[in-house]
Amino acid sequence: MSASARSDGGGGPLRLLEKWLPQIVLAPIFGLSLFFVYGFTAWTLYISFTKSRILPVYEWAGLIQYERLWSTPRWYVAVENLFVFGGLFIFGCLAIGLVLAILLDQRIRAEGALRTIYLYPMALSFIVTGTAWKWILNPGLGVEKLVRDLGFPNFTFDWLVNPDYAIYTVVIAAIWQSSGYVMALFLAGLRSVDDDLIKAAAIDGAGPIRSYVSVILPMLGPVFLSSVIILTHLAIKSFDLVIALTGGGPGYATDLPATFMYAFAFQRSELGMAAASAIMMLTTIVAIMVPYLYSELRGSQR
């Protein structure tokens, strides 16, 4: 290829090509990326300001879709569910992940095997996870039957089909899927805490619990932060799990913004409202991610 021509050779078009080669190679890739991320986002933003229903129309209509969105009861259910689901999911993953990481950090045998077991759900598709938990939570045959057969004939566990509780079944499955990941993040954090600090604490007479609470955990602040960011991001994007586990039901009791957007875009032919809901999701994520990325990137540049 001409690229292997000597870069310190004379002038001429080949030399020029060589000089610009990195940019020439990068340009289409960057272009694709730019188009996909920014072009499409701008496009969706524009659609959200039109009266598009079945097909996109490109006539400016102002904030009409946002007004409709925020006067739709189903959207409120979705947003409320996101708070319930997101809050419990983040808290549950952090709590279980941290406990597991601390337990695993005690130089035990079989650590590798246990880590593998705790983390494997993360390798699975949410659709698979949802399918499995749908079966386990099945009111007639799953956990309910198990406990009844153990001698509690009146035990009921019908959250999956109960509009008031169905969202909690999504939380259960989501925590099962993602808590191992948080464990891995915390474990890496724990392993990077300076040994000397721990020894110093031990010499000062700090027991294991005190060592963790006042020496080790405060140093895990950055891990906490990135875990919360990642989990928030996962929660806002949650779609597959809900579809597989409850299909958004009963009714639309387990709708989240992501399933709302899908339903309005592809089932109810409300493109404008769907676009508006997608923009609301984007806004939330940008509000969380941009400050985080900014500090993260600035920190890595020394």
Binding site: D8, K134, L185, I198, A244, G247, A265, L282
Partner: protein, 296 residues
């Protein structure tokens, strides 16, 4: 990974020993919690429907039968098409292989150009690309559907491959940029003085060093593409559905007797490729997760 000093809980004295036992009990309980769904899936898939009704979640299959597996693979109905999961499994393979290969390759070039041939604006370009890793994909669904329509790729496998290439670029670029940043510039400068050009330096010098990054990127992309549901359900039609969409259709089918054993067999099949990757190359998988957290 291992720490030189002992852990906080040291096996010293009787109370320490009790703590140690407690530690293992807790770890064991958690292990059961994570393994239970897998056990339930496997055992249910090996039962007959009568056994499922008679027993409970945790009861073992009394006589093993693989009929649910063969049915899930080649007979189960996905909508009106009763050919089992096989065609969709093959679809997923046909989507994942080019999707992974192309997005990884583009990530190599982007990461390489951005770091080893630094030019003004490289950091800004990277930051702009990185943002693609964090947008909720709901924002791109409608325009993507229109674009695939314009290209005549709506509802096709090549269309879905294209979507995955688009969607994966930010991640693959991030992985390779992180790797190339860590490679000393002196190596590249020396090669330039020896007269090596853009491609020579990449293929002869840098890529052989990048094998672990390749592993991470390929595993990450494979997992993302194989496990994807959103793009699959939006951008493919019945014939071109990936296996996740087919699985959901099998499970959601409401006509006839609900065959839970077939559902579970189908779920395991859809999970198997990424599970195998995880077991075989777990440490690369974990590193990929770490990089997804903008670390390392």
């Amino acid at each position: 990974m291992s720490r030189a000093a002992d852990g906080i809980v040291r096996p010293r004295g009787a109370s320490q020993k009790a703590l140690r036992v407690l530690l293992f009990v807790l770890l064991g309980i958690f292990a059961l919690y994570y393994l239970a769904p897998l056990f339930v899936m496997v055992s249910t898939s090996l039962k007959t429907l009568e056994q499922i009704r008679a027993g409970t979640l945790l009861s073992l299959p009394t006589d093993l039968t693989f009929s649910a597996w063969t049915k899930a693979w080649s007979e189960a109905c996905v909508g009106v098409r009763c050919e089992g999961l096989r065609p969709y499994f093959l679809n997923s393979i046909m989507i994942a292989i080019p999707g992974v290969a192309i997005s990884t390759m583009l990530g190599v070039f982007a990461g390489y150009s951005l770091t080893k041939w630094r030019f003004r604006g490289a950091d800004i370009i990277f930051a702009m690309m990185l943002f693609g890793a964090f947008i909720p994909f709901q924002v791109v669904l409608l325009p993507m559907a229109r674009t695939l329509g314009f290209l005549g790729l709506a509802g096709t496998i090549p269309g879905l491959i294209l979507v995955h290439i688009f969607a994966g670029l930010a991640f693959t670029t991030l992985f390779f940029r992180t790797f190339f940043v860590g490679v000393a510039d002196a190596i590249v400068d020396a090669a330039k003085i020896d007269g090596a050009g853009y491609f020579t330096i990449l293929f002869k010098i840098l890529l052989p060093m990048a094998v672990p990054t390749f592993a991470v990127t390929v595993i990450w992309q494979f997992t993302q593409i194989w496990n994807d549901f959103l793009f699959g359900v939006v951008f493919t039609s019945t014939q071109s559905n990936p296996v996740t969409v087919a699985l959901n259709n099998v499970v959601a089918t409401t006509t006839g007797v609900k065959e839970y054993n077939v559902d579970m067999a189908a779920a395991i099949m859809a999970a198997l490729p990424t599970l195998v990757v995880y077991v075989v190359a777990g440490r690369y998988f974990v590193r990929g997760l770490g990089a997804g957290a903008v670390k390392g």
